[in-house]
Amino acid sequence: MYYFDNAATTFPKPESVYRAMDQFFRTSAGNPGRGTHRLALAAGEVIDETRQLLARLFHAPDPVRVIFTASTTDALNLALHGLLKPGDHVVTSSMEHNAVVRPLCALEEQGVMVTCVPCAADGSLNPEEVLAAMRPETRLVVIIHASNVTGTILPIEAIGAQVRQRDALLLVDAAQTAGVLPIDVQAMNIDLLAFPGHKGLFGAPGTGGLVVGERAHLHPIRQGGTGTHSEQEKQPTELPEGFETGTLNSVGIAGLGAGVRFVLEQGVEQIHAHESAVMRRLLDGLSTIPGLTIYGPADIERQVGVVSVCLANWEPMDVGVALDQDYDIAVRTGLHCAPAAHRTIGTFPTGTVRLSPGYFTTFEDVERVITALDYLALHWQRGLPKLN
């Protein structure tokens, strides 16, 4: 399998991740924070270690400010529903994933006001337009760090400094950047950082998290057992337990810990450098294919390892099936749960073919996908032999 769907979830994972999950499940899988026996304590230790590693990676002021969630979507829901009240105003962009769009839509029905700042056709965002959209009652700016459709990197640092000056909060969706771009929540003035465990951090699906800055005062959005303050009926609000109701996905978090350790050992800069080199070759090759349109900046300085394309005479879905069936290449087709982004770049409603290499993608893999797309472009009526 030639895997070009790392924006959905990274594959494969480092060997250490597989080993950590297997070992944890066999030797340490008590219920973390729920008892005093050895298995519970061992599970709790792994959770704490992973929390510390994540705090180190993102430069969080304190590990307790890292809340584990089931996904980035779960983290964004916690941030948005745990923060916003009727009458609050939110500024967002037109490149957001439904993980932001849909919670904001639901909150609008409850009286939250939302302003969506349009991005350019390549997915880029002018930070001045974000600032111009802010009002005195603006409580939050929520922006995706890099588009899951075009890979376009949005200007978080420029926005962060200005948002802080205006006494609002900044929530960043780091689904495509955690582990791939350097993120320092303090230096970048990020108040809330939602991240996935199973993408650039190489953990298991079903893991993610929210880093909560000192200026953000969240309310829990779920109630139940936390392993703390069990004598009281009211939900505790202490970080992190008050926001981690129910038994954590400890096996997944054990894998996430190994994944974050791998990222720290390799270095985010090295990971980004490899992905950029692979992307450069991919973009160069794609630009030579007749009838292929590239969406996004097509500039590795301005995007992460994600690019969308369309092929003349092909529906995106059919390209995906042909690449899978004929060439053993995995890509993602359609709207990528980001219809707003596709409206922005002009590919709604049929969507695009998304190619997303990762840290384990080789240059040979890239040659394979370029050759395959070239074949589809030139021989779409299947008149000539397929690539072997």
Partner: protein, 105 residues
């Protein structure tokens, strides 16, 4: 709007040849479209896919996810792809008289 002439009738299509009127479809029209794509005679397996697509669209007003199509027809994706070499969208959905599929597969 582009049109195709079939059995004395004018049938509107989109720019990619997808029929706009769901009720204008017939097996004969499917065979006509198959002939234009050099697919040869449609087999019972082709028709099983086409009728399933139409029934699903009639109920849900969208094309089924690929995994549902495979499950309900008992055909593998590889086999469906062999039946409709242009792919599930330009091949199967177009012959079934569905609008061009949108969104996620």
């Amino acid at each position: 709007m582009p049109v195709l002439l079939f059995q004395g009738k004018t049938i509107e299509t989109d720019e990619d040849g997808f029929i706009q009127d769901f009720d204008a479809w017939s097996e004969d029209l499917a065979q006509y479209l198959a002939d234009r794509a050099d697919m040869g005679r449609l087999t019972p397996d082709h028709l099983k896919v086409l009728y399933y697509l139409r029934e699903y669209y009639r109920q849900h007003e969208l094309a089924p996810p690929i995994r549902v199509l495979c499950k309900e027809t008992s055909f593998t994706l590889k086999y469906i792809y062999q039946l409709f070499l242009a792919g599930p969208a330009r091949g199967a959905c177009k012959l079934a008289g569905l609008p061009k599929p949108t969104g996620c597969a």
